[in-house]
């Protein structure tokens, strides 16, 4: 009998690692990704802490290695609709959504994009930039092929006319395929908490109050501003920047009781990046507890303080107010030592918004029959001894879909490899 394959759902760094490890040891992998390209959240980041590696530079080779592997069958723009069976013998229905572009023909040349008359906000840039109705999410996208966003497409047919490869197919239909697999790995990642749920911070009202992921796009060379940090309201270079930590984390009133695990680390990294962009900028981080755990991170925080002069204020600010005359923002906070209410003025305020379960994770959880924890993240069968096993045998999980226990990128990679081990135990060893 042929060795069963493994289904991996979600092609962020964790899913890519799991797929690559399994494929490299000779196990066939179906890697299903909901969006048009693999890469996940890591593709959106500018640099990674504490080594300051350019995120895309270290991710892109992995994306290509994984997608080119002869044992990996990539199913992008696809979703898992039905799962039946038991470990060693699952039957999975996957829906391939119509891209309206034939990926075997599309060369990614971009002529269609140049000619498309419809501009919409770019979700990859967290809504800060624009894209066309026919688009590739980012330059290093895999597969390198366009996708037509039918919701915004006006069906003018220009792309079809201009495409030299004849790749545009406006009649493309949704396809359903059936896969037989022996094990399943879920790696669907996270969403970002919407800070407008905390009205005093004015996110959504004040243009210069942004989330950390939005900042990441503003700092990124391939982002909407070409890597120039300018504030959204007037395009000016901000001179004073504040970070507010625990926005929606450790907050039972508005958000979630848990600690998101990564925000202290990325805020310190972003603060240092801002100082590297503009040494004259003044950067300040409002925090409750500075959770700089993890290899090399305490040392990084020390450098942020001594070398870069980042100011750390221990306080959870109550309100951000806007002054229309100066187009500036004021953060109101209690100095926890003097117990006085103070305020400081800033040009740009960055909210370190919590990481939350993916909004659509409920559908997948139902399809797989697995359980979630009280916050909506996937539940481990034993949080101590079986961290990457879900509550259903033969179905494993890795990455942030398991919740903040995952923490950062190395944790996601480790879990990806660990889930690959568990799946291999089922496929090869029957355990």
């Amino acid at each position: 009998m042929e060795q069963p394959a493994v289904l991996v759902i979600g092609a962020g760094i964790s899913g890519i690692q799991a797929s690559f490890d399994l494929a490299s040891r000779g196990i066939k992998v179906y890697l299903v990704e909901k969006s048009p390209s693999i890469g996940g959240r890591m593709a959106q980041l500018d640099k990674t802490f504490p080594t300051m590696d350019c995120s895309m530079c270290i991710l892109a080779p992995k994306m290509i290695d994984c997608s080119h592997h002869p044992n990996v069958e990539l199913l992008t723009y696809s979703e898992v609709k039905e799962v039946k069976g038991s470990p060693g013998n699952f039957t999975v229905k996957v829906v391939k959504k119509p891209r309206y572009v034939d990926i075997s023909k599309c060369t990614g040349c971009g002529i269609c994009v140049d000619n498309c008359p419809v501009e919409v906000t770019n979700e990859f840039d967290e809504g800060l930039g624009m894209r066309k109705a026919i688009y590739m999410p980012f330059p290093q996208a895999v597969p390198r092929a366009m996708t037509i966003d039918k919701e915004n497409c006006i069906e003018c047919g220009l792309c079809e006319k201009m495409c030299e490869a004849g790749a545009v197919d406006l009649e493309q239909k949704q396809e359903e395929i059936e896969l037989k697999v022996g094990a399943i790995i879920v790696a669907t990642g996270f969403d970002i908490f919407d800070p407008s749920q905390i009205p005093p911070y004015g996110y959504g009202r004040h243009k210069d109050v942004i989330t950390a992921l939005e900042l990441e796009r503003l700092l990124c060379a391939s982002g909407p501003t070409g890597g120039h940090l300018v504030r959204p309201s007037d395009g000016k270079v901000p001179k004073t920047i504040a970070f507010i930590q625990c926005v929606g984390s450790r907050d039972r009133r508005h958000g979630n009781p848990y600690c998101s695990s990564i925000c202290c680390k990325y805020a310190v990294k972003d603060a240092v990046l801002i100082k590297e962009h503009d040494p004259s900028a003044r950067v300040c981080i409002f925090y409750i507890d500075l959770r700089a755990f993890g290899r090399g991170f305490q040392e990084f925080v020390n450098r942020a303080k001594t070398e870069y002069g980042i100011r750390f204020i221990r306080s959870n600010p109550g309100e951000i107010t806007y002054d229309p005359e100066t187009n500036g923002l004021s953060i109101w906070y209690e100095d926890t030592v003097t117990k006085k209410i103070e305020n400081l003025k800033f040009d740009l305020v960055v909210l370190s918004a919590a990481l939350i379960p993916r909004k659509d994770v409920g559908d997948l959880v139902k399809v797989l029959g697995i359980e979630v924890d009280p916050y909506g993240f996937l539940k481990s069968s034993s949080s101590i001894s079986d961290p990457v096993d879900t509550t259903v045998p033969g179905i494993f999980a890795c990455g942030y879909c398991l919740g903040p226990k995952t923490g950062d990128i190395p944790d996601s990679v480790s879990q990806g490899s660990a889930a690959a081990s568990r799946a291999a135990e089922v496929i090869v060893g029957g355990k």
Binding site: A221, P257, R314, S385, D386
Partner: protein
Amino acid sequence: MKGEPRVGVFVCHCGVNIGGVVKVPKVVKYTKTLPNVAYAEDNLYTCSEAGIDSIKDAIKKYDLNRVIVASCTPRTHEPLFRAACKEAGLNPYLFEMANIREQCSWVHPKEPEKATEKAKDIVRMAVARATWLEPQTEPEVKIRDSALVIGAGIAGMTAATTLANQGFKVHLIEKEKEIGGYVRRLYKLYPTMEESSEIIEPIIEAVKKHKNIELMTSTTIEEVSGYVGNFNVTATKKDKKIQLEVGTIIVACGGLNYQPPKGLYQYGIYDHVITQLELDQILKEGRLGKPERVVMIQCVGAKKGEIRGYELESFPKSDTAKLLKKILRAKKEEGWPYCSRICCMNAIKNAILIKTASPETDVIILYGDLRVYKEYEDFYSKARDLEVKFIKILEIVTPEVTETPDKKLKVLAYDMLAGKEAEFVADWVALSTPLVPHKDEVILARMLKIPISPDGFLMEAHLKLRPVDTMMDGIYLAGVASGPKDVPETITSAKAAAARAAILMANKKMKSEAIIAVVNEDLCKGCGRCEEVCEYKGIKLEEAEGALIAKVIEAQCKGCGVCAVTCPTGAISMQHFTNKQINVMIKAAIGG
């Protein structure tokens, strides 16, 4: 190589990383004027699928027989571009990389004109070398499908069973008499409060019963030689020598709880100043009773500099040991610089245990930052519900511990919220000390030739993307060997290490680098200097036709080149880095 060299050059903008400084189109225009260049273009990202396809297309379309990518570092990207060449039918060793990012645009961001000129120089040098590149074949290495796991704590045992369950033979070596390691000594584990025995006993049973695991306790490793896929291990059990042949090695040597030196917070002077680990034992044995107050001090010996003494005397006196001594001696004065990750939860766990057994006992935790990350926040809330008191102290003012006349302990600390020094009289003071590297780590690191990171733990191959790999092929890290981890994190990393080791063993073979030393037997005088200087035992003298001749052991040679520069007769050259290739680069650089 048949025919004239036809070099194709791909100059990468790397978004604005290069393109924002270096005028890439100018570099391309210049490149087209260089001898032997048949084609040149620029790419926004040469490493994107578009760039890769472009390389492959150009090789065919322009009949290229050399390819250069002028972009970033070969360390991350050479394998990718080599693979692209290979897919297009070109020998991957006919690829050359010119680094115009790390060595140009990143270091000269304020001088775009000069940087552009420098980028041209770098490309010209690469073109000069590329014309002299030759195709190489990578030696194939057989991989034995058995593994050695060093250390039978929870990490080693997990890694061993994970591999054994996949049918691989595992030799699990533990130097202590009993297996189970650090976790076995603990009482309860956070956050579920399961007894550690509930977690560890089933794993111990599985290890002992598994037909694919050969467990050797009271055994120490003496020597490891060989290379990926073919490691030869010498171990001793009592006086008996054991020889093992394995394909991969997983290091799971664990860590130690930092033992404060006598006098630090009066530890070792007053009996009731103890470490959290000792408190754990006292709680396990139910010896704490119902004290009035317990004070816990966080980050003792972590994150800051009050450490005195870390025993180094047992290290062998070699250069490596000397170097490490320096690191460790600096730590001696400054303390362990890192955050040990687990101590906050550990303190809360013990606080909850005390409060549950004796609700009247006042438990105070003095901390700088409370790092109860993840969903452990709930665990923290639970402690507060039980009225455990958390007091944020100013860390630079080290708390003082003294004895009161009635033989209690007095802790003086600077309470940040109160803005003044505060005094707590306690029956017990528990010090939260970090997990620190096992001293065996230094010995193992030297034996296995894997580097130690600045924090003293074994170093992974890449902090972000290769957390369980080492720089040595076939050797992996599991658990605390690579830094502090809690139990679930340790188990995860052990399973991850097993996955990485399984790849090699399942394939039964791998290709190794063709960048190795080559001996010109006519020039070799058999002096043996090369054998003396080789760190990897990759070259040795052999008798041939009555004379001694140096011979390279291909799979063991790392291509470092030390033998080549040592050889007095110039008999050794480096494949893929020949003198000719380097000389033409120098000439191209200085315009000779």
